[in-house]
Protein backbone atom coordinates (compact mmCIF):
# COMPACT_ATOMS: atom_id res chain seq x y z
CA UNK A 1 0.00 0.00 0.00
CA UNK A 2 2.56 2.62 1.00
CA UNK A 3 4.74 1.15 -1.76
CA UNK A 4 2.83 3.27 -4.29
CA UNK A 5 3.63 6.52 -2.50
CA UNK A 6 7.25 5.43 -2.08
CA UNK A 7 7.47 4.54 -5.78
CA UNK A 8 6.14 7.97 -6.67
CA UNK A 9 8.85 9.64 -4.57
CA UNK A 10 11.59 7.44 -6.03
CA UNK A 11 10.55 8.35 -9.58
CA UNK A 12 10.39 12.04 -8.68
CA UNK A 13 13.86 11.99 -7.09
CA UNK A 14 15.36 10.06 -10.02
CA UNK A 15 13.75 12.47 -12.47
CA UNK A 16 15.21 15.50 -10.71
CA UNK A 17 18.72 14.08 -10.66
CA UNK A 18 18.54 12.75 -14.22
CA UNK A 19 17.76 16.20 -15.52
CA UNK A 20 16.39 14.95 -18.83
CA UNK A 21 18.82 12.07 -19.37
CA UNK A 22 17.39 8.57 -19.77
CA UNK A 23 17.69 6.52 -16.60
CA UNK A 24 18.46 2.82 -16.98
CA UNK A 25 18.80 1.76 -13.35
CA UNK A 26 17.81 3.14 -9.95
CA UNK A 27 19.62 1.85 -6.87
CA UNK A 28 17.43 1.96 -3.79
CA UNK A 29 18.29 0.97 -0.20
CA UNK A 30 15.41 -0.27 1.94
CA UNK A 31 15.75 -1.24 5.58
CA UNK A 32 13.94 -4.37 6.69
CA UNK A 33 12.03 -2.44 9.37
CA UNK A 34 10.39 -0.29 6.68
CA UNK A 35 7.94 -3.07 5.94
CA UNK A 36 8.28 -2.58 2.20
CA UNK A 37 7.14 -5.43 -0.02
CA UNK A 38 9.70 -5.53 -2.88
CA UNK A 39 7.34 -6.93 -5.53
CA UNK A 40 4.72 -4.27 -4.72
CA UNK A 41 7.32 -1.52 -4.88
CA UNK A 42 8.72 -2.79 -8.19
CA UNK A 43 5.22 -2.97 -9.64
CA UNK A 44 4.42 0.54 -8.42
CA UNK A 45 7.72 1.86 -9.75
CA UNK A 46 7.08 0.51 -13.26
CA UNK A 47 3.60 1.96 -13.23
CA UNK A 48 4.55 5.43 -11.98
CA UNK A 49 7.60 5.62 -14.27
CA UNK A 50 5.48 5.33 -17.42
CA UNK A 51 5.73 8.44 -19.54
CA UNK A 52 8.73 9.80 -17.61
CA UNK A 53 12.51 9.64 -18.37
CA UNK A 54 12.56 6.80 -15.82
CA UNK A 55 10.28 4.57 -17.92
CA UNK A 56 11.88 1.18 -18.53
CA UNK A 57 14.54 1.67 -15.86
CA UNK A 58 15.36 -1.24 -13.61
CA UNK A 59 14.76 -0.81 -9.89
CA UNK A 60 17.72 -2.35 -8.04
CA UNK A 61 16.32 -2.73 -4.57
CA UNK A 62 18.73 -3.73 -1.83
CA UNK A 63 17.19 -4.78 1.46
CA UNK A 64 19.18 -4.08 4.59
CA UNK A 65 18.69 -6.41 7.56
CA UNK A 66 17.96 -4.85 10.94
CA UNK A 67 20.84 -4.36 13.36
CA UNK A 68 20.47 -3.02 16.88
CA UNK A 69 22.86 -1.97 19.65
CA UNK A 70 21.79 -2.81 23.19
CA UNK A 71 21.63 0.26 25.44
CA UNK A 72 22.25 -1.97 28.48
CA UNK A 73 25.27 -4.08 27.46
CA UNK A 74 26.42 -2.44 24.22
CA UNK A 75 26.37 -5.63 22.15
CA UNK A 76 25.09 -5.44 18.55
CA UNK A 77 22.53 -7.99 17.38
CA UNK A 78 21.05 -8.92 14.03
CA UNK A 79 17.29 -8.58 14.38
CA UNK A 80 15.48 -11.06 12.15
CA UNK A 81 12.04 -10.35 13.62
CA UNK A 82 10.00 -9.08 16.54
CA UNK A 83 10.55 -8.75 19.43
CA UNK A 84 13.72 -6.78 18.79
CA UNK A 85 15.92 -8.26 21.46
CA UNK A 86 19.61 -8.28 22.43
CA UNK A 87 21.20 -11.66 21.71
CA UNK A 88 23.59 -11.19 24.64
CA UNK A 89 21.53 -10.02 27.63
CA UNK A 90 17.98 -10.36 26.31
CA UNK A 91 17.27 -6.64 26.71
CA UNK A 92 14.60 -4.90 24.63
CA UNK A 93 16.04 -1.37 24.78
CA UNK A 94 17.91 -1.25 21.48
CA UNK A 95 19.21 1.56 19.37
CA UNK A 96 18.51 0.73 15.74
CA UNK A 97 21.79 0.96 13.84
CA UNK A 98 20.60 -0.43 10.50
CA UNK A 99 17.26 -1.44 9.07
CA UNK A 100 15.40 1.87 8.83
CA UNK A 101 17.01 3.06 5.58
CA UNK A 102 14.89 4.33 2.73
CA UNK A 103 16.92 6.26 0.19
CA UNK A 104 17.89 6.48 -3.46
CA UNK A 105 21.60 5.65 -3.51
CA UNK A 106 22.49 6.25 -7.15
CA UNK A 107 21.33 6.23 -10.75
CA UNK A 108 22.67 4.73 -13.95
CA UNK A 109 21.96 6.87 -16.97
CA UNK A 110 22.78 7.24 -20.63
CA UNK A 111 24.99 10.25 -21.23
Amino acid sequence: MHEMAIAESVVRIAGQHANGRRVTKVYLKVGHLRQVVPSALTFGFELVAQGTPIEGAELALEQIPALGRCRACGVESRLPGFPLQCRECGGFDLEIVEGEELYVESLEMEE
Partner: protein
Protein backbone atom coordinates in the same frame (compact mmCIF):
# COMPACT_ATOMS: atom_id res chain seq x y z
CA UNK B 1 24.64 6.62 -31.92
CA UNK B 2 27.07 5.59 -29.23
CA UNK B 3 25.74 5.88 -25.69
CA UNK B 4 27.81 5.78 -22.54
CA UNK B 5 26.37 4.66 -19.24
CA UNK B 6 27.15 6.96 -16.35
CA UNK B 7 26.51 6.43 -12.69
CA UNK B 8 25.50 9.30 -10.48
CA UNK B 9 25.46 9.20 -6.70
CA UNK B 10 22.18 10.52 -5.29
CA UNK B 11 21.90 9.60 -1.58
CA UNK B 12 18.50 11.22 -1.14
CA UNK B 13 15.95 9.97 1.37
CA UNK B 14 12.72 8.91 -0.30
CA UNK B 15 10.72 10.81 2.34
CA UNK B 16 13.00 13.85 2.63
CA UNK B 17 10.58 16.10 0.77
CA UNK B 18 7.73 15.07 3.05
CA UNK B 19 9.87 15.43 6.17
CA UNK B 20 10.85 18.98 5.19
CA UNK B 21 7.19 19.92 4.74
CA UNK B 22 6.34 18.25 8.05
CA UNK B 23 9.01 20.34 9.73
CA UNK B 24 7.53 23.50 8.19
CA UNK B 25 4.08 22.48 9.49
CA UNK B 26 5.61 21.86 12.89
CA UNK B 27 7.11 25.34 13.00
CA UNK B 28 3.76 26.81 12.06
CA UNK B 29 2.04 24.82 14.83
CA UNK B 30 4.66 25.85 17.37
CA UNK B 31 4.27 29.47 16.35
CA UNK B 32 0.50 29.29 16.87
CA UNK B 33 0.83 27.40 20.16
CA UNK B 34 -0.86 24.22 18.92
CA UNK B 35 -0.26 20.81 20.46
CA UNK B 36 -0.75 18.40 17.55
CA UNK B 37 -1.90 14.80 17.63
CA UNK B 38 -1.63 12.48 14.67
CA UNK B 39 -4.40 9.96 15.30
CA UNK B 40 -4.10 6.71 13.38
CA UNK B 41 -5.93 3.38 13.20
CA UNK B 42 -7.54 0.84 10.91
CA UNK B 43 -10.86 1.84 9.36
CA UNK B 44 -13.61 1.43 11.93
CA UNK B 45 -11.49 1.28 15.09
CA UNK B 46 -13.44 4.18 16.59
CA UNK B 47 -11.32 7.28 16.03
CA UNK B 48 -14.29 9.52 15.28
CA UNK B 49 -16.41 8.09 18.12
CA UNK B 50 -13.56 8.67 20.58
CA UNK B 51 -13.16 12.18 19.26
CA UNK B 52 -16.85 12.81 19.92
CA UNK B 53 -16.41 11.71 23.56
CA UNK B 54 -13.22 13.77 23.79
CA UNK B 55 -14.92 16.89 22.49
CA UNK B 56 -17.76 16.44 24.98
CA UNK B 57 -15.33 16.04 27.86
CA UNK B 58 -12.96 18.89 27.01
CA UNK B 59 -15.62 21.40 25.99
CA UNK B 60 -14.96 24.67 27.81
CA UNK B 61 -11.51 23.49 28.99
CA UNK B 62 -9.47 23.29 25.81
CA UNK B 63 -10.15 24.46 22.30
CA UNK B 64 -9.77 21.45 20.05
CA UNK B 65 -9.42 21.77 16.30
CA UNK B 66 -9.91 18.84 13.95
CA UNK B 67 -8.30 18.09 10.61
CA UNK B 68 -10.27 15.21 9.22
CA UNK B 69 -8.58 13.02 6.64
CA UNK B 70 -10.55 10.64 4.49
CA UNK B 71 -10.24 9.17 1.02
CA UNK B 72 -13.74 10.38 0.18
CA UNK B 73 -16.86 11.87 1.80
CA UNK B 74 -17.33 14.37 4.62
CA UNK B 75 -19.23 11.88 6.79
CA UNK B 76 -16.82 12.08 9.72
CA UNK B 77 -16.62 15.86 9.56
CA UNK B 78 -20.43 16.00 9.44
CA UNK B 79 -20.59 13.90 12.63
CA UNK B 80 -18.26 16.30 14.44
CA UNK B 81 -19.83 19.51 13.11
CA UNK B 82 -22.38 19.62 15.96
CA UNK B 83 -19.57 20.45 18.39
CA UNK B 84 -18.96 23.75 16.61
CA UNK B 85 -15.18 23.47 16.80
CA UNK B 86 -12.72 24.54 14.10
CA UNK B 87 -12.79 21.69 11.63
CA UNK B 88 -11.55 21.04 8.13
CA UNK B 89 -12.00 18.03 5.90
CA UNK B 90 -9.13 16.92 3.66
CA UNK B 91 -10.02 14.34 1.02
CA UNK B 92 -7.03 12.48 -0.32
CA UNK B 93 -8.75 11.13 -3.41
CA UNK B 94 -7.15 13.42 -6.03
CA UNK B 95 -3.59 12.42 -5.09
CA UNK B 96 -2.50 9.42 -7.11
CA UNK B 97 -0.63 7.10 -4.80
CA UNK B 98 -1.48 9.30 -1.86
CA UNK B 99 -5.02 8.16 -1.31
CA UNK B 100 -4.40 5.88 1.66
CA UNK B 101 -2.85 8.31 4.16
CA UNK B 102 -2.33 11.99 4.90
CA UNK B 103 1.08 13.40 4.05
CA UNK B 104 2.59 16.69 5.19
CA UNK B 105 1.52 18.53 2.05
CA UNK B 106 -2.12 17.45 2.34
CA UNK B 107 -2.17 18.61 5.96
CA UNK B 108 -0.60 21.90 4.94
CA UNK B 109 -3.32 22.38 2.33
CA UNK B 110 -5.97 22.13 5.04
CA UNK B 111 -4.37 24.52 7.51
CA UNK B 112 -5.48 27.71 5.79
CA UNK B 113 -9.07 26.74 6.69
CA UNK B 114 -8.30 26.61 10.41
CA UNK B 115 -7.91 29.51 12.88
CA UNK B 116 -4.69 28.07 14.32
CA UNK B 117 -4.04 30.73 17.00
CA UNK B 118 -7.42 29.90 18.60
CA UNK B 119 -6.65 26.19 18.81
CA UNK B 120 -5.00 24.57 21.85
CA UNK B 121 -4.96 21.01 20.56
CA UNK B 122 -5.18 20.07 16.90
CA UNK B 123 -6.22 16.50 16.23
CA UNK B 124 -5.30 15.23 12.79
CA UNK B 125 -7.56 12.25 12.20
CA UNK B 126 -5.61 10.26 9.64
CA UNK B 127 -7.08 8.00 6.97
CA UNK B 128 -8.07 4.61 8.37
CA UNK B 129 -5.16 2.36 7.42
CA UNK B 130 -2.77 0.26 9.49
CA UNK B 131 0.33 0.74 7.31
CA UNK B 132 0.82 3.88 5.24
CA UNK B 133 0.09 6.73 7.68
CA UNK B 134 2.97 5.54 9.86
CA UNK B 135 5.51 6.45 7.16
CA UNK B 136 4.46 10.07 6.78
CA UNK B 137 5.22 12.70 9.37
CA UNK B 138 2.77 15.58 9.19
CA UNK B 139 4.29 17.87 11.82
CA UNK B 140 2.73 16.25 14.89
CA UNK B 141 3.95 16.37 18.49
CA UNK B 142 2.61 12.95 19.30
CA UNK B 143 1.19 9.87 17.64
CA UNK B 144 -1.88 8.28 19.15
CA UNK B 145 -3.07 4.98 17.78
CA UNK B 146 -6.60 3.69 18.27
CA UNK B 147 -6.88 -0.07 18.19
CA UNK B 148 -10.14 -1.93 18.69
CA UNK B 149 -10.38 -5.30 20.37
CA UNK B 150 -12.37 -6.64 17.40
CA UNK B 151 -9.19 -6.55 15.29
CA UNK B 152 -7.48 -9.55 16.91
CA UNK B 153 -4.42 -10.02 19.13
CA UNK B 154 -1.80 -10.54 16.42
CA UNK B 155 -1.87 -7.25 14.53
CA UNK B 156 1.12 -5.63 16.32
CA UNK B 157 3.25 -8.46 14.92
CA UNK B 158 1.76 -8.16 11.44
CA UNK B 159 1.86 -4.36 11.25
CA UNK B 160 4.81 -3.37 13.45
CA UNK B 161 5.55 -0.15 11.55
CA UNK B 162 2.57 1.72 12.99
CA UNK B 163 2.59 0.08 16.42
CA UNK B 164 6.29 0.93 16.77
CA UNK B 165 5.68 4.58 15.91
CA UNK B 166 2.86 5.13 18.44
CA UNK B 167 3.40 7.14 21.63
CA UNK B 168 0.06 6.02 23.07
CA UNK B 169 -2.30 3.20 22.17
CA UNK B 170 -6.00 3.59 22.98
CA UNK B 171 -7.35 0.04 23.17
CA UNK B 172 -10.93 0.74 22.19
CA UNK B 173 -14.28 -1.08 22.27
CA UNK B 174 -13.38 -2.85 25.53
CA UNK B 175 -17.10 -3.01 26.33
CA UNK B 176 -17.18 -5.84 23.77
CA UNK B 177 -14.51 -7.94 25.50
CA UNK B 178 -17.05 -10.18 27.26
CA UNK B 179 -18.56 -11.13 23.87
CA UNK B 180 -15.26 -11.85 22.10
CA UNK B 181 -12.51 -14.46 22.18
CA UNK B 182 -10.01 -11.59 22.13
CA UNK B 183 -7.19 -12.27 24.61
CA UNK B 184 -6.25 -8.86 26.01
CA UNK B 185 -3.11 -10.10 27.78
CA UNK B 186 -1.85 -11.70 24.60
CA UNK B 187 -2.51 -8.52 22.65
CA UNK B 188 -0.66 -6.39 25.20
CA UNK B 189 2.22 -8.89 25.09
CA UNK B 190 2.38 -8.55 21.31
CA UNK B 191 2.25 -4.77 21.66
CA UNK B 192 5.20 -4.86 24.08
CA UNK B 193 7.09 -7.12 21.68
CA UNK B 194 7.14 -4.40 19.02
CA UNK B 195 7.00 -1.27 21.22
CA UNK B 196 8.17 -2.19 24.73
CA UNK B 197 6.35 -0.33 27.49
CA UNK B 198 4.37 1.96 25.17
CA UNK B 199 1.63 3.77 27.09
CA UNK B 200 -1.83 2.30 26.69
CA UNK B 201 -5.31 3.15 27.93
CA UNK B 202 -8.33 0.86 27.72
CA UNK B 203 -11.27 2.80 26.32
CA UNK B 204 -14.84 2.42 25.18
CA UNK B 205 -16.28 5.27 23.17
CA UNK B 206 -19.66 3.62 23.72
CA UNK B 207 -19.66 3.49 27.54
CA UNK B 208 -17.16 6.28 28.12
CA UNK B 209 -14.70 4.00 29.92
CA UNK B 210 -11.17 5.40 29.86
CA UNK B 211 -12.17 8.67 28.21
CA UNK B 212 -11.37 10.66 31.36
CA UNK B 213 -7.95 9.00 31.61
CA UNK B 214 -7.26 9.72 27.93
CA UNK B 215 -8.27 13.36 28.30
CA UNK B 216 -6.06 13.68 31.41
CA UNK B 217 -3.18 12.16 29.47
CA UNK B 218 -3.76 14.72 26.73
CA UNK B 219 -3.91 17.69 29.13
CA UNK B 220 -0.82 16.45 30.95
CA UNK B 221 1.20 15.87 27.78
CA UNK B 222 0.25 19.24 26.39
CA UNK B 223 1.76 20.75 29.54
Amino acid sequence: MHRTAVKQIVMEGVLDANDALAQANRERFDGAGNYVINMMSSPGAGKTALLERTLERLRGKLCLGILEGDVQTTLDADRLARFHVPLVQVNTDPGFGGECHLDANMVRSGLSELPLPEIDVLVIENVGNLVCPAEFKVGEDVRVMVYSVTEGEEKPLKYPLMFRSADLVLVNKVDLLEHLDFDLEQFLGNLDAVNPGVERILTSARTGQGVEEWCSWLEHRRG
